[in-house]
């Protein structure tokens, strides 16, 4: 993973010192609340329903064992001993105190971590594929580019006050696990006879107006990445709407201008920048790539392929089939660790969990772990022969659930329990749905299914791209939930369709159950939820869902 040099460390230290001084000025009354709000947001600090919330960046989801241990200690010393992994590969603390923030950020800086630009109208944490560098369907490793973009976007002088937040995702694989089509900018590494290039997608996003992005450059030479993105951001910074925050994202601008006019504007802006000083040279590409060289793999051979097939009802076999993924290196596997556990909010981890995960990363995966946008963790480089002992070790910490991609692997925002933006709670809804899937056998039989829950329009739970999407709405002070079905996040990204009237909290898990039953009843062999939906039509699901419900 990327190793900080002296300049990186000094930069981070100076950023901490700067925020310490800003906090001092605010607490002394020398800085207005309005101005301090903007400065603290750019250091990841929100003021939430019950307490401040700090969002810590995990660039493209890569985290070291040392960092996991530091996070564990920080949750103990500054919070209530737990933290929450988000859908953007970050981690959040729910109870830090404003006065303690400078010290907290100082502790993060000791392990080369920060909360820079995890909120505010600026370029947010760059996200990527959790299987970068190990996925068998990879064209090129996206991490060097993600790191390059992290550095470029960090305190960029021109783009710190955009009309609205700005999210960039990069993928380098055939299967798009970074959901690039629903980002402000989505980058896809491709290659042909002439070498590596980027497809550049712009204007995707969820929230109030869910839209799939459009491809505005089908072949961008990698050396132009920074200048081309500067041109996009420059057009957006100048022309994006600032009069209405719900219409301020780049997707609205792209839609209003139309793909062609937007493309032309970007190309015009690019002419002044192209081949200029920010063109990326070969040396610098090599320097970034060197940080992500392959770890010291042993020369091994692949174990019996039967490990990828359920042969018995043994829990270990099931876990292997569901949570263990193929690897580029013979004899190795990528292991998906579920953070969707009964009785625990999706994506939540305790300080003990974090320490256990750090130990396991050290013991089995070269001291590194990855955060996924599904709010789970990955140990990317595990020797196949060590899978049984890893499985056993995970079991001791309640981290061995074999539910990757299944119904209980729900994506869920913190919702009304924590977030001041939420219209409704989401964690209790996840818990209620979870309870209807207590039979692991039945859940496996149901198969792949994504359920996404957001507590409000801001769509942190990505409900638009769930097979079943649940959105919390407020109806005269009561929590109701709107359902959509047929969403998909990956390379065939699409937005789910609204099913019908919203449903009361007490009913929502039963409606979800009826939808899954309807799918099972109508599906053909090997047919995924969306395929069945497309074949039989939404009305079939609609009548199943609302059967017996008071209208």
């Amino acid at each position: 993973m990327y190793q900080y040099n002296d300049d990186d460390q000094q930069f981070l230290q100076q950023r901490c010192d700067q925020f310490r001084e800003q906090t001092r000025q605010f607490l002394a009354g020398d800085l207005t609340a309005e101005e301090f709000q903007q400065l603290r947001l750019r250091n990841g600090l929100y003021i939430q329903r019950l307490a401040p919330m700090l969002r810590i960046a995990i660039p493209y989801g890569e985290v070291s064992a040392k960092q996991l241990r530091a996070l564990a200690a920080i949750t103990r010393d500054f919070d209530k001993g737990y933290a929450h992994f988000t859908t953007r590969q970050n981690i959040q603390l729910n109870w830090p105190k404003i006065e303690a923030m400078p010290d907290l950020l100082g502790r993060l800086a000791e392990v080369n971590m920060h909360a820079i630009q995890t909120s505010g109208s600026c370029i947010r944490n760059i996200t990527s594929d959790q299987f970068a560098g190990v996925a068998t369907d990879e064209i090129a490793d996206p991490r060097p580019w993600a790191e390059l973009l992290r550095q470029w976007s960090t305190l960029h002088p021109e783009f710190n006050w955009l009309p609205r937040k700005f999210k960039i995702a990069v993928t380098g694989a055939i299967s798009d696990r970074a959901a690039i089509a629903v980002h402000d900018i989505g980058l896809r590494l491709q290659s042909d006879d002439a070498g590596l290039y980027f497809e550049v997608w712009v204007g995707g996003g969820l929230g109030r107006t869910p839209l799939i992005g459009v491809c505005i450059n089908t072949r961008l030479e990698p050396k132009h990445l920074i200048t081309y993105l500067t041109a996009i951001l420059r057009v957006y910074n100048q022309l994006g709407r600032r009069d209405n925050k719900y219409k301020a994202r780049i997707k609205i601008l792209v839609k209003a201008m139309g793909k062609l006019d937007f493309q032309t504007a970007v190309n015009n802006a690019w002419q002044a920048l192209k081949d200029g000083p920010e063109t990326i040279n070969e040396d610098s590409i090599a320097r970034f790539a060197a940080h992500f060289s392959r770890p010291n793999y042993l020369a091994l051979t692949d174990q019996a392929p039967s490990r990828s097939v359920i042969t018995t009802d043994q829990p270990f076999d099931r876990w292997c089939a569901q949570n263990v993924l193929a690897h580029q290196q013979p004899g190795y596997a990528a292991v998906h660790i579920s953070l969707k556990r009964t009785g625990i909010a999706p994506g939540d981890v305790s300080d003990r969990d974090l320490e256990a995960l750090a130990d396991l990363a050290d013991r089995y995966s070269f001291g590194e772990a990855r955060v996924t946008h599904e709010q789970n963790l990955v140990l990317a480089d595990v020797e196949q022969t060590k899978l049984p002992e890893l499985y056993k070790a995970l079991g001791k910490h309640n981290l061995d659930r074999a539910n990757r991609g299944l119904a209980t692997d729900m994506i869920c925002c913190p919702g009304g329990d924590y977030c001041s933006l939420a219209n409704a709670k989401s964690i209790p809804v996840a818990a209620a749905i979870e309870e209807t899937f207590q039979d692991a056998e039945a859940e496996h039989h149901l198969g792949a299914l994504s359920i996404n829950i957001s507590g409000c329009m801001n769509a942190c739970g990505h409900h638009h791209v769930g097979n079943i999407g649940i959105l919390g709405v407020d109806k005269k002070g009561e929590e109701f939930y709107q359902l959509s079905i047929g969403g998909e996040p990956g390379e065939d990204a699409r937005i789910g369709r609204i099913l019908g009237p919203s449903v009361a909290r007490a009913e929502i898990h039963w409606v979800v159950q009826r939808l899954t039953q309807c799918y099972q009843q109508h599906r053909l062999t090997e047919e995924a939820f969306n395929q069945t939906l497309d074949r039989v039509g939404i009305e079939v699901f609609k009548s199943a869902a609302y059967e017996g419900l008071a209208s």
């Binding site: 300049d7 000094q10 930069f11 100076q14 950023r15 700067q18 800003q22 101005e35 903007q38 400065l39 109208s121 550095q151 470029w152 960090t154 305190l155 960029h156 002088p157 021109e158 783009f159 710190n160 006050w161 955009l162 009309p163 420059r234 910074n237 100048q238 600032r242 802006a269 002044a272 920048l273 200029g276 000083p277 920010e278």
Partner: protein, 142 residues
């Protein structure tokens, strides 16, 4: 680099030849018109696009950029474009809601003159410039 402190960030007796906003229609001028319309100072509203007023850049020596709110990023891009795209080398002065914490980024986008809001501390504002020893991006020089 110039630092000017006035009431509410607005220049008191600024003599400006021309004010340009996004409402003004872009138009082309022939040489004669260009000469007769020679302006040495130009005030730019944030919604204006440089293409529309570029013909004035030949004679302009002072460009005033309006920052209506400290959260408005448009003057940053305007300044960067004036330097990078149009090679304007004269003074770019920003006025309006100019606060100490913004100075460094404004400066790094090529702005070399600042009308600081009255309630801002000039020393603290100057201290922001060069606060960081190194950056991840090249600066746009004034």
């Amino acid at each position: 680099m110039k630092l000017i402190t006035t009431v509410n960030g607005y220049p008191e007796q600024q003599e400006i030849d021309l004010i340009w906003s996004g409402y003004d229609e872009p138009h082309r001028l022939d040489d004669a018109e260009q000469r007769s319309s020679a302006v040495s100072s130009l005030q730019i509203e944030p919604d204006a696009l440089p293409d529309a007023f570029q013909h004035h850049l030949i004679t302009a020596r002072l460009i005033l950029l309006h920052l209506p709110a400290f959260t408005d990023g448009r003057p940053y891009s305007l300044a960067a474009m004036l330097r990078q795209h149009y090679r304007y080398e004269g003074e770019i002065r920003v006025y309006g809601d100019v606060r100490a914490a913004q100075l460094d980024h404004l400066h790094r986008c090529g702005i070399n003159s600042f009308v600081l809001k009255e309630d801002q501390d000039a020393a603290s504002a100057l201290g922001q410039i060069g606060y960081f020893s190194k950056w991840y991006q090249p600066n746009i020089s004034a």
